[in-house]
């Protein structure tokens, strides 16, 4: 990102303020934290108004009102059925009223119903049916040229054994003893390896963010003091 010296200085100082929390909690950290929350909230609100509320609601109900700064709305006929979602949106705000706040439940019921309905179908298709399909793999993969592809076959076996033993571990209707116990122990190992991989990735992510901040600090020092 190309930043001016002033922007870079501000960026560097705020980074130092946040990093100071690593030593201990202090007023500089709190200031930077509150500034971030305030700026983020304002940014989200402005984006919500100008990118969603204006073009997708106001410009559709009363195109003439916004056509001076939204040319795409100029030739459009009013779409009055958008008053319904507008009313639902207003109902959500009744939560703020001491009396009549129950009205917000109607809008909330619509939101929950819509989200549950669409998510259910999509999760069932993409995370259940499609994942089962992806696990139906041959244990022995043959090469086009003949012979067994050992690497690919091993991957398939690990995947199938991992899925099966993991499922057995979460099968609580039978006591984990004997064969079930042995398979579920393999399941625990698979889960532990998965958690380890997730932890490793998380460490990489956090170090990457630290690297990003360090780069900013170095660029700041380089530009202001001419070091590096």
């Amino acid at each position: 990102m190309n930043l001016s010296p002033l922007e870079l200085t501000l960026n560097g100082i705020l980074t130092l303020m946040i990093l100071s929390f690593l030593y201990k909690d202090n007023p500089f950290y709190k200031f930077a934290e509150h500034l971030f929350v305030g700026v983020s909230a304002a940014y989200w609100m402005v984006q919500g108004v100008w990118q969603t509320l204006m073009p997708n609601l106001i410009a559709r109900i009363t195109p003439g009102l916004v056509s001076s700064f939204m040319p795409e709305a100029a030739d459009r006929a009013p779409e009055y059925h958008f008053i319904i979602p507008a009313l639902f949106g207003l109902l959500l705000l009744t939560r703020l009223l001491p009396k009549g706040n129950w009205l917000s439940r109607w809008a909330l019921a619509f939101v929950v119903g819509y989200a549950a309905g669409t998510n259910f179908v999509r999760y069932l298709q993409s995370d259940f049916v499609a994942q089962i399909q992806s696990t139906m793999l041959p244990l022995l993969v043959l090469r086009d040229s003949g012979g067994i592809d050992i690497g690919q076959s091993f991957s398939h076996i690990v995947l199938i054994v991992g899925v099966f033993s993991g499922l057995v571990y979460f099968f609580f209707s039978k006591e984990h003893k004997g064969v079930t116990g042995s398979i579920s122990r393999v399941g625990i190992w698979i889960l532990m390896i998965t958690f380890g991989a997730s932890f490793g990735y998380t460490v990489m992510a956090r170090i990457s963010l630290l690297l990003g901040r360090m780069q900013v600090l170095m660029r700041w020092i380089e530009q202001i003091f001419g070091i590096f």
Binding site: Y43, Q51, E72, T118, R122, S126, Y201, L211
Partner: protein
């Protein structure tokens, strides 16, 4: 007090100091290690290579500045690759800050490096819209029901690039840069699977393990964290050596990353030695 006791009561700030040094020292000395693309990253590269000139790629920027060090290098590499291959790029965002992140790439990469490319013809920024998966669900059937204008206020119908884009199915690839929810998972669930649209993901390292199950049947490929970005840069430089002169941010950052990982591994080993020694002591 023994060394073991000292280590057991080690002030966490000492660990922070070691991690800080592990990151800063390689950065100062510009240490770099060679990167080799893995199949999951190469799959995206090969897919972009296989697209005919003029194909339209949708790049949803679903991240904010907090994860930019991981995702900006991916977006930069992909943007360079697509524009070099004369593909059309359309950006949008399910995150409010994503619109600004896309603008940064246009300002810092596209405009200086590809001055011949014209806004509206070769690339477009549609910006942010609220609605998450609901938005994807809607634009799968009709882009214009939600996107009437781009971020500059130009009506979508006046943008030559958007002439043939009516629904999400008209995109030849959706290359999502994702830092969480809504992100790659939602694009796969609500666009890729129902619309049969090729989806690739550039994700933060934190969510990469959650996306692996979608590869290869529901996802073309994936770049996981900074490592994924560095691998894509390596693939790009191998095929297009002209980019060797440009900054390879992710590749440069992988050396301090590796040193920091090494320091963390040492601390994990020390922690385990202390744990097992203490356990042995208690048993005696």
């Amino acid at each position: 007090m023994s060394i073991l006791d000292n280590l057991q009561n080690l002030d966490r700030r000492i660990i922070f100091l070691f991690i800080g040094l592990a990151v800063i020292v390689p950065l100062i000395f510009n240490l770099t290690f060679p990167e080799h693309p893995t199949p999951i990253v190469t799959a995206i590269f090969d897919f972009v290579e296989s697209l005919p000139e003029g194909s339209v790629v949708l790049m949803p920027f679903d991240y904010d500045p907090s994860t930019a060090p991981e995702l900006d290098p991916m977006a930069t590499a992909l943007m360079r690759h697509c524009l070099t291959r004369n593909l059309k790029v359309c950006t949008m965002a399910l995150w409010p800050e994503g619109q600004g992140m896309a603008n940064n790439i246009f300002t810092n990469v596209v405009e200086p490096e590809f001055p011949e490319k014209v806004y509206g013809i070769d690339y477009v920024n549609l910006g942010y819209k609220a609605g998450a998966q609901g938005l994807i669900n809607t634009i799968l059937l009709n882009m214009r029901s939600m996107y009437t204008a781009d971020t500059r206020g130009t009506p979508v119908d006046d943008l030559p690039l958007m002439k043939k884009v009516i629904t999400l199915r008209d995109f030849d690839l959706i290359m999502n840069f994702s830092a969480g929810k809504p992100g790659s998972k939602e694009w796969i669930q609500f666009a890729g699977d129902p619309g049969d649209i090729p989806i690739a993901s550039g994700s933060t390292a934190v969510q990469a393990p959650l996306l692996y199950p979608y590869y290869p049947s529901q996802m073309v490929g994936m770049m996981g964290g900074l490592k994924g970005a560095a691998e894509y840069e390596a693939a790009l430089i191998e095929a297009y050596p002209q980019f060797k002169e440009q900054t390879s941010i992710a590749t440069q950052l992988m050396a301090p990353q590796a040193v920091a990982h090494f320091v963390i591994i040492i601390f994990v080993i020390i922690g385990n030695i202390i744990y097992f020694t203490e356990r042995k002591k208690k048993r005696l």
